[in-house]
Amino acid sequence: MKFRTLGRHIKEGAKNTWRNGWMTVASVGAVTTTLILVGVFLVLMLNLNHIADELEQDVQIKALVSLTTEEEDISTIEENIENIRGIDEIEFLTKEEELANLVESFGEQGQAWELYEQDNPLNDVFVISATDPQDTERIAQEIEGIDHIDRVNYGQEYVDTLFQFNNYARNVGLVLIVALVFTAIFLISNTIKITILARKKEIGIMKLVGATNSFIRLPFFVEGLLLGILGSLVPIGIILGGYYYLTQNLVVFQEFNFIKILPFFPFALQVAAIIIGIGATIGVWGSLMSVRKFLKV
């Protein structure tokens, strides 16, 4: 194809898009709906996975030393723990230190705990982290078998549940999105079919005088692309705007280390790029589908 005629194809494609009126609106609407869902889904899934990852990195095993343990036994326990495979760090905290941490973590309201300073109900603890978070469960079980260890706590169950939920949500989301993507492709290919039928005579003459197939196809290709890209504008607006709002207003929670969502930049832009990419793909695919059927030589 010659560069000179590219302008012609784009003009033709744009003209067709405009002429198809309601069908254009319908197919752009279908793409828009699909992409809003894709966007929200992406933002949710990627953030949930991110949060789960973060939480998993933070998972620590707390081994509570029984209250009756003699001080000289502590080093034996520590040695036993150190011998377990896959341990990254071990830290020993006396019950006094534990209480101090607790008081601190509650800030103002923590004052109430100070009452316990005289009669500390807490245990001495070992805080252990695994080199690979995947090993946490095994290590916890092994520690539980060591003498003088009362109980072992770790947050893995919560993380596992979150991962499970993520998997489930992802599958449901994917099925929904695939169905929507195909609906959008179908609508676009129908819109372009209308153009092709309306231009049957023109196409017939083009073939007769020897226009190449790619020349004949290009305007329809452009039309599909245009429909896809038009359909991605609103979703991108919503995602960029919405996510910006979210990052601004979740600051309060972030201070408490409660949730850490992915930062606006570059995450929101990446999602926007994915959305426009999927929009363009849907459009081009839809156009190829109808063009292939109608423009057979």
């Binding site: 005629t5 023109e202 003459i205 073939k207 020897g210 197939n213 004949i216």
Partner: protein, 228 residues
Amino acid sequence: MIEMKDVYMTYPNGVVALNGINVKIKQGEFVYIVGPSGAGKSTFTKMLFREEIPTKGTVTVNHTDTTKLKWREVPHFRRNVGVVFQDFRLLPKLTVYENIAFALEVIEVAPKQIRERVLQVLDQVGLKNKARFIPDELSGGEQQRVTIARAIVNKPSLLIADEPTGNLDPETSWGIMKILEDINASGTTVLMATHSKEIVNTIKKRVIAIEDGVIVRDEHRGEYGYEI
């Protein structure tokens, strides 16, 4: 320049339109294709611009075997063959000039060359003063002249006309014939399927008669040979 060897054509619905055609046509010839309705005249012409390919046999045009053409090569093959139909097939919203230029635009000829060529063929078919008219503002004969201009604007070596005067009154038809003869005189091979006894018997040329998909007669300076 044209050679058909043992050409058989059966349409998908089972109709046998060509039943063993053997023919050679040299560059620069003017040939009438005659025969009763349904004999296979149009099918014969469709072989030559690869609208159809034979179910058996070979069709060679300008040393190109159309049965072996890849679909990618068809467009370039067609640029060397001009085609004119009974129903003019002009684009109603484009002017005469634009209709002819369209044929060159879609094969990506440079704009300057397009202008030059279009004005040239408009002159050739005597429509220079109607360049800005749209097809609806023209008579049937004028419209047919536009399609002829469109068919020859890319200087094809072969011009195929399937009943070019079929929709025109006798007087207008002579004008069209004059143009076709001129085109032929400049070296272009012209192949014309027709039902016009007057034309065939007056402007004497080679006549190929087809009946039931078979060539039954092939004469130089022949007669139409059918009543009506």
